[in-house]
Symmetry: C2
Subunit: 334 residues, 2 copies
């Protein structure tokens, strides 16, 4: 019998997520039935999309259930198995509980090679965030050499990859991030042509006019709100707005109105398109091959913040929603 | 020497277009130089897109020039020619002045066969409005059998064709129009499954919930404003919003905010895309062949309002912006 420690959704947040939305519980897992495994989580991924899942009852993914563990993309080791596809000692990636151990039927878990890349990479640059950046920027945004690309949350798990992929296509890439250190990292290490601190700047229109004087061809949207509105007004003819997230709006108690003058979409022939990466799993192999090679060749960089201990996951997630992480945020569970 | 009567842009409107924005002038046209023709306008098309061109100085098309004649899609007869491509008596379609006669270099004018269709059809169902509907609905919206399609301005020059093309694809088609007679026409003659009067209804969300209980797959947007916002909130997963126009917003003195909660675009993986038909002229032949056959076979209907006399064009245009026309609005000039 295996003991597990779980983080339970204790109540749904209204507005900002607070520590009392979570509850830590220890319990004994039942022995695996035929077909089941027990996975011991090594790393757990914290991502902004989890915030809507805490409250949105009619969203694209089922909401987290009240009084049940939240789930997260995780790297885990199989410690018990009654499933012929998994042997004890196998390392897998997939959706597991916010927990030290998860009892699971194995569906959706994918075995990974420990030697292929550092384990956290499978939750970041070679995992869902990296694939989100790849699919959104290259397949949807399709930046061309000489075009101007804007990436909000420029150094986040998704933004850092999106920005670098656009640079590799020869675009001019401008971003924003939440502090000066992130902005310095974006330009010095990630190759952004410019990056502004959205907490220091107040007039986003003016700063965009200065940094993107000819307008914007591709917007990779992670943030929403005032920055998105300012970008919308500065899109060039035939511009593409790739709608990936809107972290600044996730904790709104009442929904915010969209940007002024939607007729701009007609005048400038804009394409504004949303996506969710889980719809595109079939095309993930291409991404792993391409970005894996870039990573091995040292042509793309990857920054992570790793927090130690499952019990610190709630506070780390609350910090993520405030932009306190730097790069991909992970929890080392064991 | 030819006398012409022209409608001149006397001042740019602020808010609603008023009669004093126009001025009627009579003048003598210079004799055509080498390569020029004089075209006598038979029919002139009035279209909502002209309103932004009266004021928008940084729009996709150059604005109308102050103290110069406005221009319009027109059917005209060549009455003088020093251009080898055009003979006296040829009938052409293209952009000409709001005038009885236009001196022109012939570029962009296309000869038409008088016998092929009634002349006004070249400015409506077989012209730019029809092609706008065809390109927007079939190539961009791509409605499938069983899907729910919404068309605002359901009986307008563009909407009436868009709605019928969606019906021919087997979609369920719901529209809105500005009076009960138009709504009755939409359902009885154009085949709409339902049509509501947007001047009688006040709660657009409630009426859409009733008429499109499962949500909307394709929105063909002509109107903007509150109706667009209500439709946006009811789009289904993978829905397409084809942004053609926003007539309800053209006379705004200050721009209006967009719909609430733009994150909906991500959650439902929406594609919102604007277009201007003049970007797609190369693909017009396919449309003329296909919709021309439908028209000949009696499979598609076409409603026009024809106003007599160039001097009535300004009042007719002001009425168009208030939704007073029924179907395609034209002026018979001579």
């Amino acid at each position: 019998m295996t003991e597990t420690t779980q983080i339970i959704l204790a109540r749904r947040p209204q507005g900002d997520v607070t520590p009392d939305c979570f509850r830590l519980e220890r319990r004994a897992l039942p022995a695996p039935a035929e077909g089941q495994i027990v996975a011991r989580t090594l790393y757990l991924s914290l991502d902004p999309y989890m915030r809507p899942r805490m409250t949105e009852l009619h969203s694209y993914t089922p909401p987290f259930e009240l009084d049940r563990p939240l789930t997260a993309g995780s790297v885990a080791e199989i410690v018990e198995s009654r499933n012929p596809k998994f042997a004890i000692g196998d390392v897998v990636v997939g959706m597991l509980d916010w927990a030290t151990h998860t009892l699971h039927d194995g569906r959706g878990l994918r075995k990974i090679d420990r030697a292929a890349a550092p384990l956290p990479a499978h939750l970041g640059i070679l995992g869902m965030p990296g694939y989100t950046a790849y699919h959104g920027m290259l397949r949807m945004g399709q930046p061309k050499a000489g075009e101007t690309v804007f990436v909000s949350a420029a150094t986040g798990a998704v933004g850092q990859v999106a920005g670098q992929l656009a640079k590799l296509k020869g675009a001019r890439v401008v971003g924003c991030a939440g502090d000066d250190a992130k902005c310095a990292y974006a330009t010095a290490e990630l190759g952004y042509d410019a990056c502004f601190n959205h907490r220091r700047e107040t007039d986003y229109g003016a700063v965009l006019d200065r940094l993107c004087p000819g307008g914007i061809d591709v917007d990779f949207e992670n943030v929403g709100g005032a920055i998105f509105h300012a970008v919308f007004a500065r899109m060039k003819d035939f511009g593409r707005m790739v709608m990936c997230g809107a972290i600044s709006e996730y904790q709104d108690r009442t929904p915010r109105p969209g940007p002024d003058k939607m007729f701009t979409i007609v005048q400038r022939r804009l394409r504004i398109e949303g996506f969710i990466i889980s719809d595109h799993i079939a095309g993930m192999g291409e991404f792993v091959a391409e970005v894996g090679s870039l990573l091995k060749a040292g042509k793309i960089r990857n920054r992570e913040t790793i927090v130690d201990g499952l019990d610190r996951a709630p506070a780390a997630f609350i910090g993520l929603l405030k932009g306190e992480n730097f790069g991909k945020l992970l929890v080392r569970v064991s």
